[in-house]
Symmetry: C2
Subunit: 335 residues, 2 copies
Amino acid sequence: MVKAKIAVNGYGTIGKRVADAVQAQDDMEIIGVSKTKPNYEAAVAHQKGYDLFAPASNSGAFEKAGIPLAGTIEEMVEKADLVVDCTPGGIGEANKPMYEKAGVKAIWQGGEDHELAGFSFNAASNYEGALGRDLVRVVSCNTTGLCRVIYPIDRELGVKKVRVTLARRATDPNDIKKGPINAIVPDPIKLPSHHGPDIKSVLPHINITTAALKIPTTLMHLHTVNMEVNTDCTAEDINRIFSSQSRIRFMSQGINSTAEIIELARDMGRPRNDMWENCIWPESITVHEREFYFFQAIHQESIVVPETVDAIRAMMELESDGAKSIQKTNKAIGL
Amino acid sequence: MVKAKIAVNGYGTIGKRVADAVQAQDDMEIIGVSKTKPNYEAAVAHQKGYDLFAPASNSGAFEKAGIPLAGTIEEMVEKADLVVDCTPGGIGEANKPMYEKAGVKAIWQGGEDHELAGFSFNAASNYEGALGRDLVRVVSCNTTGLCRVIYPIDRELGVKKVRVTLARRATDPNDIKKGPINAIVPDPIKLPSHHGPDIKSVLPHINITTAALKIPTTLMHLHTVNMEVNTDCTAEDINRIFSSQSRIRFMSQGINSTAEIIELARDMGRPRNDMWENCIWPESITVHEREFYFFQAIHQESIVVPETVDAIRAMMELESDGAKSIQKTNKAIGL
């Protein structure tokens, strides 16, 4: 079988994880990754055997740093069937003409607007809608984490209303510039946060309100989720529905915080201590009549990675069944 | 007028603030404060002119440290009309026999159970119920902050349901032992947190569910509050109701986090940068039909201080009208 040729434009927090996850599949391969500067991430990409591409204007800096380049970003794009754009939020939009000119398919991350791609993706919620598409946006970590729980509950019980408070990690572990380091920041102060509307880009009929806080931690986000449903249910019903989802993982055995979740991922030998699943505490599932609550933690660096692999598979029509793609992706990365 | 004689048993985070706030009133005075160890707080209490009392068994340590004592804790209690017990949560209960033996009135903090005093106090919600009582519990910072907003909304619009997510500061600024320093801790994992039931100790008929997270910050708690009410209303209505409360302060003018609230308190010359008021962002007040949301920040070290002064005034029957006591307390401390 000829593998689908995938390029990753922007080998940063998400891009490097997407590259490794794609490379682990048997129906797609990485033909190149791009980096603007010859930093430690570029050096490791080269050591791992990825062909490295950079803007033509920066080739001198790579040469000086002793990191060999395989060509320019335009040349990388020309070689690919599909480009996963993992450049910082807002930058990806400017790359659209380049992808169109080269006639390649493109995936953007949740930092870009829905309108740029015209289709926002979550594997469990709308895989089939992405089949054969040229342009897809994989929604952000928090939106992915919420779609993964809202979709199966809506299918089985009918969702009347969702209310979420998101405690967001201030920044990623490798960032030494952003804060806060000792404050709570309602972000935004004016409700709702963008997450509620963003869920609607995948699940348009869901009535949802979200409020977000930025807090001094780097490891994971944490959601307090409240859902009203249209059907009588028990905590056991919710538990059963979540248990049926391969990308939901229950937390117990002394895991009482995001710190212990990450320690679990480290102990499991997960690459970069990634936790691709929603981490839900089953003990927190509490039902009052047709309304329930629970806590879930979301690993911002990695949760969209398996979704991106599934998006590639749908767009390249390598698999028409979403459930089969999810299973295949999971197995290949060790989820 | 003879001033009511008040002792503070436990001159720590809350106790030292209560002592200063009582001393600022014209109808009550501090006749002594107690400390178990001769640390820097004891030294400052002495420098400020408070008579200092300690357990008889620790008098040698105070002598050695050069901090003069006025007597034992039992002797302090004997001199008082009313003791404010600010010992750590759970310790206060053991002091009840001592207060009963001395025939003094007693106030406990929210760390003790409701049953210990049989009456849980919030000035705006139930001042009159404390008139002449011998034993009162002033509810905790988070419960106080919630009573202050729930009571006036319930009176004007009727509260159908309250849902709160509390992002709790991990510990106070002077604590060097507790964490987390980089994690989010659902605390407790099993819902509801104790805050919901605790609100009912003041406002028994309120339907409320609370979920709490412990996060790496020391400055303030932050609540995401959702309320369903029985009456049609607008954001302006909510704004007007909150504006009528002297212990609610609106945040604007570039105050976007708890860090900036504390900076405001420092700039205002507040003692120990205390922010006695609920800090609400009016921009966050969002109404959907008969349901609204808002953010409020709560200064855990100081919010119960004016409430404690009002509780004293009610129990000593120095003022029969709660609104007048609140006004008098506020004016004396500069709120």
